[in-house]
């Protein structure tokens, strides 16, 4: 599983960061980013799916 954040959609709700600070970072202006490039480690796959399902801006997506 790989995930991306659309920076144009992200508005800094920081729900992803609250769910997994290991997987996501948020800068001082609220812009979220994925810390881990490439495959999401197995241990974080579930929380990655939760982040996708909880983002109020639909900014996180799974990519092939």
């Amino acid at each position: 599983m790989k995930i991306v954040i659309d920076p144009a959609k992200c508005q800094g709700h920081a729900r992803c960061y609250a769910l997994s600070p290991e997987l996501f970072d948020v800068d001082d202006y609220g812009q979220a980013s994925v810390r881990i490039e490439g495959e999401v480690p197995e241990a974080l796959v579930e929380v990655a799916r939760l982040a996708i399902a909880n983002c109020p801006e639909f900014a996180i997506a799974e990519v092939d």
């Binding site: 800094g12 729900r15 948020v26 609220g30 939760l50 399902a53 909880n54 801006e57």
Partner: protein, 401 residues
């Protein structure tokens, strides 16, 4: 002034300051979503009320048609800026601005509410909560709204602004006058005069003697190579004070009301503290305090509704968060709700700039309370009162433990 008189129909004559709406808006939203999801009123110079998740988020994202220059529906007779007694001139803060003004003014504010800075405020927030609890725990009862919830955000915001928290009650009074009693023109003007007058003096003091606080940092900022206009600094500081107090206090109060009236949820949260993060999001969803208005910029038809330039549109985030098309068991509090795409902090470019701070304060307030008061309930015969309009939360919440 106030537009009283009974509401004839919630679909065609709604009034968010009506006592029935303040007492129980939930059933009104449920009925409207079924029968007339976009309600209208001629009151307050004409306004629309959105009750579904899709409509609320769509309007929030269309900042061209729906402008932020008027965000309150309950101030229909607002004097123009700088006009009349009690109206000191102030610059437009980002909450009331559209791009491009919104874009750069918001960036002045965001770092002050980043999760890193908010984390640095957590220890003082926890100490504050425990100090408040120390003050009443031996009495076995407290008004959890006035004696606890109301006392927390104002002091954290005072720290951010760099103003003394000994003035907490004064700040709270001014903010209530501006938001909660906004239908009373005299109170509204008094509250506003108090806030703007006080902050004007603080800004002058900070110019002489800068400190590590938001006011000083704004004085040091530049835009397009020039220092910020004093009026803009005043507008931003007033925004932080007004928006940072009433809203979070309402969320803390509503959460404590829920726990006082749902002992099973309280017991579960005490037994399973790892549920706290999802529970906090669920309380934010189910008891979202804030409804924001937009003003229509040009005659338009939205979802079949003929909206005229100048009409207000109320984005009812609390109602959106109870939309059964988006949330299963929407009217129930489900502490471990896994999928919770709530919009308690808004949607789109105006996402609450203080959301990290509010989330931290709510979390710490609940955590500190439950650690020391794991069982509590409403006092027998308790007279719980609510504030409503565009910020909903309990103002009197007597509990015993």
């Amino acid at each position: 002034m106030a537009e009283r008189g009974p509401v004839a129909s919630w679909a065609t004559d709604f009034d968010v300051m009506d006592p029935a709406y303040i007492e129980d808006p939930f059933s009104i939203w449920d009925d409207l979503r079924e029968t007339c999801p976009i309600a209208h009123t001629e009151r307050r110079r004409g306004a629309w009320l959105l009750t579904t998740y899709d409509d609320v988020t769509a309007v929030a994202h269309d900042t061209t048609t729906f402008s932020s220059t008027q965000i309150m529906v309950i101030r229909p007779d607002e004097a123009p800026q700088g006009a009349g007694p009690g109206f000191l001139p102030y610059g437009i803060p980002p909450i009331s601005a559209d791009p491009p003004l919104h874009t750069w003014t918001r960036r002045l504010l965001l770092p002050w509410f980043s999760h890193r800075r908010v984390a640095s405020l957590e220890p003082m927030t926890r100490a504050l909560c425990n100090r408040l609890i120390d003050g009443f725990i031996d009495q076995g009862r407290v008004d959890a709204a006035e004696g606890y919830a109301q006392q927390i955000p104002v002091r954290v915001i005072a720290t951010t602004l760099g103003v003394p928290d000994s003035l907490a009650d004064t700040f709270t009074g001014w903010v209530r006058d501006v938001l909660e009693f906004a239908d009373d023109q005299l109170k509204r003007i008094e509250g506003r005069r108090g806030i703007l007058g006080y902050l004007t003096e603080e800004i002058a003091r900070r110019r002489q003697d800068p400190k590590d606080d938001l006011i000083s940092s704004l004085l040091a900022e530049e835009h397009d190579g020039a220092p910020l206009d004093d009026r803009l600094i005043l507008g931003i500081c007033a925004l932080v004070l007004v928006a940072g107090i009433d809203t979070t206090w309402s969320a803390i109060g509503s959460t404590l009301w829920h726990l006082a009236t749902h002992p099973d949820d309280t017991a579960r949260l005490v037994a399973e503290p790892t549920l706290l993060p999802s529970a906090i999001e669920e309380f934010l969803r189910a008891y979202s305090p804030v409804t924001m208005a937009r003003v229509v910029t040009t005659d338009t038809t939205y979802a079949g509704c003929p909206m005229a330039a100048g009409d207000k549109v109320l984005m009812n985030f609390p109602a959106a968060n109870r939309d059964p098309k988006v949330f299963d068991r929407a009217n129930e509090v489900v502490l471990d709700r896994a999928h919770n795409r709530h919009v308690a902090f808004g949607s789109g470019i105006h996402r609450c700039a203080g959301s990290n701070l509010a989330r931290m304060e709510l979390t710490v307030a609940v955590e500190a309370w439950l650690a020391r008061i794991p069982q509590f309930r409403l006092e027998h015969g308790a007279d719980v009162t609510w504030a409503g309009g565009q910020v909903r939360g309990p103002r009197s919440l007597p509990v015993v433990f």
